[in-house]
């Protein structure tokens, strides 16, 4: 038996080895990648020194362009140039119609659940478009950092529902990124500020991006960031400000009818510039000159404020609701962190300052703050800071429930519940002799299922016929740390079971993802094999490394027999890992895990005991 390696006390297993990890802010308008390098967190620029990557993808017959190059063609080639794709993530065709009639794209509408946009480069889903942006950031990071990435923390709006989160995670898989965690954007921003100033107390994070709005209320306490409540609107942002200005311009110009995609782009572009000008100036000139419309005029800041006020008000209503959910008063908020480019608009800053009765924090670039927080978290998660005390406790933004008789939603997990969480509820049959039950999983706050978001349908079949009301069907919802849901149903009298990992109704299936991966590779078959092998090898490395440090830390919990048995299986795995058969590696991992089952559980209990040890009553006296 080979001897287990043990490293110097107080050092990680490989102290010299800095693992490469990044934080990615996948934004509606712009995206960024950041990383911690030699103890410094920074956003990574491209070759031309640009940190922001415009979230724009252009599909051509012979390839894909991402970023500034693509953005330059947004006006002349609107059909093939996808902007603000984040707004389509996890959405169905009918949702997209609600986003407004002014979308320039041709949606392929053949009764498909996942909407696809028709482009010269083929039909693409929002997930694939986002994957292109992620790939561009990944290759920038690999180039800058000089090595393979161990993992990435990708941020999502706190208010993103299950379907939108899953779509984001799928995009990351397509881009070949190992997702350490989906992190809520406001939490990331709080990390960026919190670690900077080491403050304690309750803070609000107001995040108004290009297409989404989030408000989160967090409590900071000894490195623990506890999200108390979150709210927002996943379809409200700076784009809507531009829209309001564009509508106003059309009105001023006396334009009747339906503007074509090019004109819409042009107007939105001009409106955005006007909005940006009005951040520093009090008035700006606007000029639109096309075949259909010639207009020249001035827009004052006051006028713009009036145009955007209804939108800003909507955000403040969400703030009020979040405060109420958190059971916190305005005056208990010690700081307000501003995130997102749209918080540069002076009217937004003023209104938010008024509402919370304090001067908003703007010292970190609002465009970069999320990526910076994500990078800090990635650095911790990947294990570069082993003694780090930082911990982020997130919550679920929207209630999860099951459809019951009459089309009503019975909530199983309420919004603002800390995650991970597992909760069960019992249901029963409606008719005598019923042997199956259709379960419809929904997300949202409304009573009626039709007003909630449909997440998944699945069936529990084959339980014995009984009189109505007799069967006890226990439905268990499990939400993981990323906010992703799996559902399990079991008829208690007979033990009949069924379960699903919720693939949202508008999400991609595993097969679709695999097909996309295949088609994106030239030598599909070999590449897929190589990829699977690599994935298993990485998992094997992870398992072995974790085991070694576990034994180092808590080896005394094992009897000699147990240690021998575990060591033998560890050897087996190390052996299998050098081969090229992913199935063998997988088996070896499973066997090692079986041998370790008790040990892992014992360790978990020990660490709980350690955590609870040595607390005196006095410690709690001055808390909260």
């Amino acid at each position: 038996m080979a001897l287990l390696q043990i490293s110097e006390p107080g050092q990680s297993t490989a102290p010299h080895q800095h693992r490469l990890a990044v934080g990615i802010d996948l934004g509606t308008t712009n995206s960024l990648v950041a990383s911690v390098r030699s103890g410094e967190v920074q956003t990574l620029p491209d070759e031309d020194g640009n940190h922001l990557l415009p979230s724009v993808v252009r599909y051509r017959k012979d390839g894909v362009e991402v970023g500034a190059v693509a953005a330059q063609h947004a006006i002349i080639d609107p059909m093939n140039t996808i902007v603000s794709v984040k707004r389509f993530m996890g959405r169905g065709v009918s949702d997209l119609r609600l986003l407004g009639s002014k979308l320039p794209y041709h949606f392929v509408d053949e009764g498909m659940v996942v909407p696809r946009i028709h482009t010269s480069g083929g039909d693409v889903s929002a997930t694939e478009v986002s994957a292109e942006i992620l790939k561009a950031l990944k290759s920038r990071a690999v180039k800058t950092l000089g090595g393979e990435l161990q993992g990435a923390v990708i941020t999502v709006p706190a208010y993103f529902d299950e379907a939108q989160r899953q779509a984001t995670k799928d995009a990351a898989s397509l881009a070949g990124l190992n997702v350490l965690r989906l992190l809520n954007e406001p939490t990331a921003a709080a990390v960026a500020y919190g670690l900077d100033s080491g403050q304690e107390g309750v803070i609000a994070v107001y995040d108004l991006g290009g297409g989404t709005f989030d408000i989160s209320i967090l409590r900071l306490n000894h490195g623990v960031f506890e999200v108390l409540a979150t709210g927002g609107d996943s379809a409200l942002g700076g784009d809507d400000f531009d829209h309001a200005i564009a509508e106003w311009v059309l009105q001023q110009a006396g334009y009747q009818g339906d503007p074509d995609p090019s004109l819409v782009r042009l107007l939105m572009h001009a409106s955005r510039r006007a909005k940006e000008d009005l951040t520093v100036q009090t008035e700006t000139e606007m000029s639109i000159d096309t075949d259909e419309i010639q207009w020249h005029g001035a827009l004052s800041r006051d006028q713009m404020n009036r145009l955007i006020e209804p939108l800003v008000r909507k955000t403040l209503m969400s703030c009020r609701r979040a405060l109420r959910d958190a059971d916190i008063n305005n005056e208990d908020i010690s700081e307000v962190v501003m995130v997102g480019g749209s918080t540069r608009v002076p009217h937004v800053r003023n209104r938010v300052g008024e509402f919370f009765e304090c001067e908003p924090l703007v010292s970190i670039d609002p465009d970069k703050v999320v990526a910076i927080g994500a990078a800090l978290q990635a650095d911790v998660l990947v294990g570069n800071k082993s003694d780090e005390d930082m911990l982020l406790l997130d919550i679920i933004p929207l209630s999860l429930g099951i459809e019951t008789m009459g089309g009503l939603s019975e909530k199983i997990i309420q919004r603002n519940t800390p995650i991970p969480v597992s909760r069960a509820q019992d249901f029963t049959t409606y008719k005598d002799g019923q042997t199956a039950m259709a379960l419809h999983v929904v997300q949202g706050e409304r009573e009626l299922v039709s007003d909630c978001r449909s997440l998944a349908h699945f069936e529990l079949r084959g339980f014995p016929p009984q009189v109505a009301g007799a069967p006890r069907i226990r439905v268990t919802f499990q939400v993981d740390a990323d906010g992703l849901l799996s559902v399990h149903a079991r008829e208690e009298n007979s033990g009949t079971e069924a379960s699903v990992d919720v693939r949202p109704s508008y999400g991609l299936t595993d097969e679709e993802i695999e097909t996309m991966l295949r088609s994106s590779m030239e030598h599909a078959e070999e590449d897929m094999q190589a990829r699977t092998l690599r994935e298993e090898q990485v998992e094997a490395e992870r398992v072995v490394e974790a085991l070694d440090s576990a034994i180092k830390a808590d080896g005394e919990l094992l009897t000699e027999d147990e240690l021998n048995s575990i060591s033998a299986r560890r050897e087996q795995l190390v052996e299998a890992k050098t081969g090229d058969d992913p199935v063998l590696i997988k088996q070896a991992i499973a066997e090692l895990e079986t041998a370790c089952e008790d040990f892992v559980a014992r360790r978990m209990n020990t660490s709980i005991r350690k955590a609870m040890k040595g607390h005196s009553i006095g410690e709690y006296a001055k808390e909260d």
Binding site: E226, S422, E597, A601, M604, I608
Partner: protein
């Protein structure tokens, strides 16, 4: 404590098994426990360890929820004494109590017509809150003296009151949103 997954929530948080809980202490222990088991602490571990970490974190979150919740905490205490609530379809038979509840509902339905509905809702909310405090006392008395049927009846009433309080808050919220 031998196994966290089979320990009762009070022992898990190392507090006395009682309706009265020190929420500050609970909150503090919650953070300590999370630091020990949260999946982020196992981001580099194998799938098995991550799964077990998720189970434990879920349990701790569930425990926190139950310990903080005025009704669920009471139900949990009774469950520890072997009272089964899962098949409980009966409701309270206390006619006077039910009458009071109905009157409150009617008041709630017509509150929008009042001059100052928010002030009205505030006072209703305060009433319900004090009724809940009274009922919690009734529960504690019955529970500690082993009168489990009485304790169960108190829990049913607490459930009513808690629901009413939530409805009042919801209504106040939507009225507030309209004014803003």
């Amino acid at each position: 404590m031998t196994d966290a997954l089979s320990t009762n929530y009070f022992d898990l948080f190392e507090i006395p098994v009682s309706y009265d809980v020190d929420l500050v202490r609970v909150q503090h222990r919650y953070r300590e426990l999370q630091k020990a088991v949260h999946p982020d602490k196992y981001a580099n571990a194998g799938a098995q360890e991550r799964r077990i970490s998720m189970q434990h974190t879920s349990l701790i979150n569930q425990a926190l929820h139950t310990l903080k919740h005025p009704v669920e905490r009471a139900m949990y205490l009774l469950q520890l004494k072997g009272v089964d609530f899962t098949m409980d379809n009966e409701t309270t038979m206390d006619a006077a109590f039910l009458m009071e509840q109905m009157e409150m509902r009617e008041k709630l339905e017509s509150v929008r017509e009042k001059d100052d509905p928010l002030a009205e809702l505030d006072s209703m909310s305060a009433d319900v809150k004090s009724n809940m405090d009274v009922m919690a006392e009734v529960f504690k008395q019955a529970y500690t003296s082993g009168e489990l049927d009485d304790a169960r009846e108190a829990v049913r009433k607490l459930q009513f009151l808690y629901k009413a309080k939530q409805e009042i808050t919801e209504l106040a919220a939507s009225i507030e949103d309209e004014i803003i």
